[in-house]
Subunit: 245 residues, 2 copies
């Protein structure tokens, strides 16, 4: 059993916990390389069911406490799947969520979970950024990451080359910025662009990219909204223009 | 210097980090009991400015590395304030955010930060729940907690006795539930009620309290939204009925 601590440049990542493994098995069974099981006296019915499904698909199950230690799993984590990461292609005719330099694993995972909830299937991440396949992000996404296309780009220009013709909505304040409540999105293909937790988007972002700047009105009691909250409000608002339920 | 690890039943809590101490000093200087300063060779200008302001208010500043260790501060935390907790009274004529059994410190802090952003000044917490004055919550709120009235109740019934006449909107699914986008809130006094991260609200909550059930439409890809995201979307939506900017 060759195994080492998770690294960003590895081609493999880890889904930690039975719920995540079940989600991965349901959505991307072919991505699973092998599964680690913590040796314990008795497994619950839910875990037994997942083990049966894994065996039916001929996925190797390795009993090992050491594997859980190497990957820094919590004591109550009984099952982990090793899976192949994939830098997916984005759909050119779908809306995208574009995150410029996100730095927090919890935020990124939560944004991915929210994106899936509102039927956004395509996420672009502009690096430098937190690694979207870090097991912490996978966990915070509650497995939603397995449903989506996640693609990383080294600059916004590189993203735009691959994104297809589309309208950009950038969450930032400038002199042409519109209030969120005043925007109507009629395009099928658009991108919601959000910046880094601390720095936001570059000041010249809208000018440089032709994006419409948008701000979410807020009181002077706080400096800003948490990134995942701003993204959630933005996604819910824009999803309202396309969804029928 | 008598000091011990933070405990829920203590009358004192801690604002950790210069930014939080500055926010506390600006909003509730009288609540500060004393301030701890990590002995380091050189302080930055921002920290010096805060120290000057503290001295002007005759607040005791204690240099001690041990204090930071006792409270489990991170290495880059140079300043901490000890402050008196206060279970505030809620405004009967203002909207309230009511959290039933929230269990995660990060979620609660983020919800408090979002509430302040959307001018919600009154938060009710139904116990059992994470301690709203836990330094982790204070930190996740980015100091927004110092601006708000936070009040804890042992049951929803106890809350309703103190809340004044108001309309309740409960985020849950039942047979009378309305989609968020279809609700118009015309009342000045209303409460947005959200349940626990894992369990949600009790099934009979709306029936028992006369609340209007509301759901946020979402795809089948996820089981639910993160609690702080659902709360953020709800607050942003309802704030739209009252705010002019």
């Amino acid at each position: 059993m060759k195994l080492q601590k998770y690294k960003r440049d590895s081609e493999l990542s880890y889904a930690m916990g039975a719920t995540l493994v079940a989600e991965l098995l349901k959505t991307q069974p072919k991505a699973i390389r092998r599964v680690f099981l913590r040796p314990v006296e008795k497994h619950g019915d839910d875990l037994e069911k997942i083990l049966t499904d894994l065996k039916l698909k001929n996925i190797e199950i390795i009993e090992s406490t050491k594997a859980f230690n190497i990957l820094g799993a919590k004591d109550n984590c009984l099952l982990m799947a090793e899976f192949s990461k994939c830098n997916a292609l984005l759909n050119q005719d779908a809306p995208h969520i574009v995150l410029v330099n996100p730095s927090d694993a919890g935020n990124l995972g939560t944004i991915i979970r929210t994106a899936a909830a509102f039927n956004y299937t395509d996420i672009a991440i502009i690096t430098p950024a937190v690694d979207p396949f870090d097991p912490k992000v996978v966990r915070a996404s509650m497995g939603a990451i397995f449903h989506l296309n996640i693609s990383q780009f080294s600059s916004i220009e590189e993203y735009l080359e691959h994104a297809g013709k589309r309208k950009l909505y950038a969450f930032m304040v400038n002199k042409n910025a519109m209030k969120l409540g005043e925007v109507s999105a009629n395009e099928q293909a658009y991108s919601l662009v959000l910046g880094n937790e601390a720095a936001g988007l570059p000041k010249d972002f809208a000018e440089k990219t032709g994006a419409q700047a948008i701000f979410i009105p807020q009181s002077k009691m706080v400096d800003s909204l948490n990134l995942s909250i701003a993204a959630g409000i933005a996604m819910h608002y824009f999803a309202g223009f396309s969804s029928e339920d």
